[in-house]
């Protein structure tokens, strides 16, 4: 039955990727940019929780809340200072800036917290579940991660379908110019997108660090990149796509670790990206973006 355990743990890891991928895919869909620093927001979220819980001795839930607030503010600030002035710039310039921001966050964290690994205390306190006569063991983190991700996913879909802001986001992602003519505040909509994406990153950070309880300035980098792979896999710009891509990627990674080679699991994940780009560059649920001529 260990296969099922690997599978469920894969789904759990995949749910974290999905949460991060949501941020990537929304920002990509609306601002048409790859926010390279998105993964590092996770790391900032992790450190925030660490400080609140371990340094200040506050309860976990407060840690998560503070992290959500800090990350949201950070995300919006980054957008305003670094990305907003570059709306008319070449995609290359925006990408380089985003890489700069990512690098900046990592190195600020390095200066503040040092390179040593911090031991993260899990924010989850529910007990592990044992199924099928103890053949399948689910840690509390696994259960919480899956549940939280599904709830957020559904909530986000409802928000986009039902709320005015959500509709504005869809409109901006379709056509920025037309949306502006329809009286939609494009800048505000983009800021909201960054806020939501960063808040999700904070939650992803809490879950990630609880499941893998080590924290360094580079904690967010790899999961961030993998989540981008997930977003591409599912179809960049598509919210359900990010979710499906995230889960699939988590499962692929966990099964590769279990059955092929733990050192090569990352390589396999990236090989997936290259294969997807070769076979179906638009991903599972993505639609073709063609340039206007």
């Amino acid at each position: 039955m260990s296969f099922i355990s690997y599978l469920i743990n894969g789904i759990s890891l995949g749910s974290i990727y999905a949460l991060i991928a949501l941020g990537y895919t929304m920002v990509y869909g609306i601002a048409k940019m790859l926010n390279f620093a998105h993964g590092d927001i996770i790391m900032i979220g992790g450190y925030t929780i660490f400080v609140v819980m371990n340094t200040l001795g506050m309860p976990p839930i407060l840690g998560v809340l503070v992290a959500v607030v800090v990350c949201t503010i950070l995300g919006v600030t980054i957008e305003k200072i670094a990305y907003k002035p570059l709306r008319q710039a070449s995609p290359l310039a925006v990408l380089i800036t985003a890489i700069g921001v990512s690098y900046l966050l990592q190195n600020v964290a390095l200066l503040i917290f040092g390179a040593n690994t911090k031991l993260f205390t899990s924010v989850v306190s529910i007990p592990a579940i044992s199924l099928a006569d103890g053949q399948i063991n689910l840690s509390g983190e696994t259960t919480v991660t899956i549940v939280v991700s599904v709830v957020i996913m559904v909530g986000l879909m409802l928000f986009i379908r039902k709320s005015k802001t959500g509709q504005a986001m869809l409109a901006v992602s379709e056509d920025k110019g037309a949306a502006e003519l329809m009286g939609i505040n494009v800048n505000a909509t983009i800021a909201v997108t960054f806020a939501i994406g960063s808040a999700l990153a904070a939650i992803a950070g809490a879950l990630l660090c609880s499941a893998y309880p080590t924290l360094t300035p580079y904690t967010g980098a790899m999961p961030g990149i993998k989540a981008f792979v997930a977003a591409v896999f599912g179809g960049i710009g598509s919210i359900p796509g990010a979710f499906i891509g995230g889960i699939l990627l988590g499962v692929i990674e966990n099964l590769s670790k279990a059955y092929i080679s733990s050192q090569m699991a990352d390589a396999i994940v990236f090989a997936v990206l290259i294969v997807v780009l070769l076979v179906k560059p638009t991903g599972i649920l993505g639609k073709k973006i063609s340039e206007k001529v």
Binding site: M33, L34, A82, P85, L86, Q88, A89, S90, P91, L92, A93, V94, L95, I96, T97, I99, G100, V101, Y103, L104, Q106, N107, V108, L110, L111, A221, I225, F228, V229, V232, S261, Q263, M264, D266, A267, F270, A271, L273, I274, L277, L278, P281, I289, E291, V293
Partner: protein, 359 residues
């Protein structure tokens, strides 16, 4: 790049670039033989050549092709390991050092170029962001892979394993070439400052001549406007792949120099990881995207500066990050552009002359 490039102007500009490298070489040689250069500094000469090559190589991708590669350290790693395997394997059989090193360079260049093609074909058709992420992924894969590879050689040929040296089953007199995470030891130290400079000059010859030829114009046309380039019959994939492969190949040669400058070669995040790719990107951005000479100068300055100002070392990467952001904002944000338009004499003169033409 000189904005007004008449034929003779380009030649002149290229000449200045070559001359700059040669003069720097002569000055360094004189200083070294006069004994006024610290051993720390002499130890930096070959790495300096490597960084210059990496910067020129990346600028070909970023500035001329207009795509971002974050895996240049990966190409460097491929070049380093493929050539080091060759050199260690043939250190007893090919006794002529220049010949062996020459073949090693060719092997490093070709191996990196092959990976350039493999990555380029699927990715160069897509939007630029994908190339960045795929090359980044590629760099990580290469680094991870090298760390689990064991390669040995005996009378019967090469033995390969991904477990440990024992499972190589080497025969009598066999030797381990790649020892997993411990990498390759005993690579001959063939890379010298002089060879480095010669290779830089050859690289510049290739890159500058490429830029100012039919192929280079096609590549830059694609960068400036892909749809228009297609409409005048330019084969997009061919030229993108050409630029990217040449760039990868130069990075591979940088790796060859790197491998043959150290007695132990390992694939660490420090030398072949993301940080290295970013550092090279900083060289390119600071030197001016598309400006080959600028890349050389900024690679030299940014390599020497932290060594001269040791105290700066802790903040080095922080400064790199700020350089990337500030340079982009300075170049592109509307407010910064306004500012520069207002205070740029060059623009002012240029506009005047256009107005005159119109009148």
């Amino acid at each position: 790049m000189d904005k007004l490039k008449k034929m003779n102007k380009t030649t002149k500009s290229n000449f200045i670039t070559y001359a700059m490298v040669i003069v720097a070489y002569i000055i360094m040689q004189v200083l070294v033989s006069a004994g006024v250069v610290s051993s720390l500094m002499t130890g930096l000469l070959v790495p300096l050549c490597i960084y210059v090559m990496m910067a020129v190589s990346l600028n070909l991708t970023v500035g001329i092709l207009g795509e971002l590669s974050l895996g240049h350290a990966g190409f460097m790693c491929v070049g380093a390991f493929s050539s080091a395997v060759f050199s260690v394997a043939t250190v007893d059989t090919i006794t002529s050092v220049p010949l062996r090193f020459f073949i090693a360079i060719v092997i490093g260049a070709v191996a990196a170029a092959v990976f350039g093609v493999i990555l380029g074909i699927p990715v160069l058709r897509l939007r630029g962001d994908y190339l960045a992420i795929v090359t980044l992924a590629f760099g990580e894969i290469v680094k991870n892979f090298i760390n689990v590879v064991y390669l040995g050689m005996d009378g019967k040929g090469f033995h390969f394993s991904m477990k440990d040296t024992g499972s190589l089953n080497l025969g009598e007199g066999g030797k381990v070439i790649i020892n997993g995470a411990q990498g390759i030891t005993g690579t001959p130290k063939n890379a010298t400052f002089t060879i480095g400079i010669v290779i830089i000059l050859i690289t510049l010859f290739i890159v500058l001549n490429l830029i100012h030829s039919r192929a280079g114009r096609a590549i830059m046309a694609i960068r400036d406007n892909r749809i228009a380039a297609e409409s005048v019959g330019i084969n997009i994939t061919k030229y993108k792949l050409m630029a990217f492969t040449i760039s990868a190949s130069i990075a591979g040669v940088g790796g060859v120099l790197y491998a043959h400058n150290l007695s132990t070669l390992t694939a660490l995040p420090k030398n072949f990881g993301y940080n290295m790719s970013i550092m090279i990107l900083v060289f390119v951005v600071l030197g001016g995207i598309g400006n080959i000479r600028g890349s050389i100068i900024s690679a030299v300055i940014l390599t020497l500066l932290p060594e001269l100002l040791r105290g700066l070392n802790d903040y080095r990467m922080l400064i790199y990050a700020i350089v990337l952001i500030v340079m982009m904002l300075f170049n592109w944000s509307p407010r910064a552009r306004e500012f520069r338009e207002k205070y740029s004499i060059k623009r002012f003169l240029n506009r005047k002359s256009i107005e005159k033409e119109e009148a």
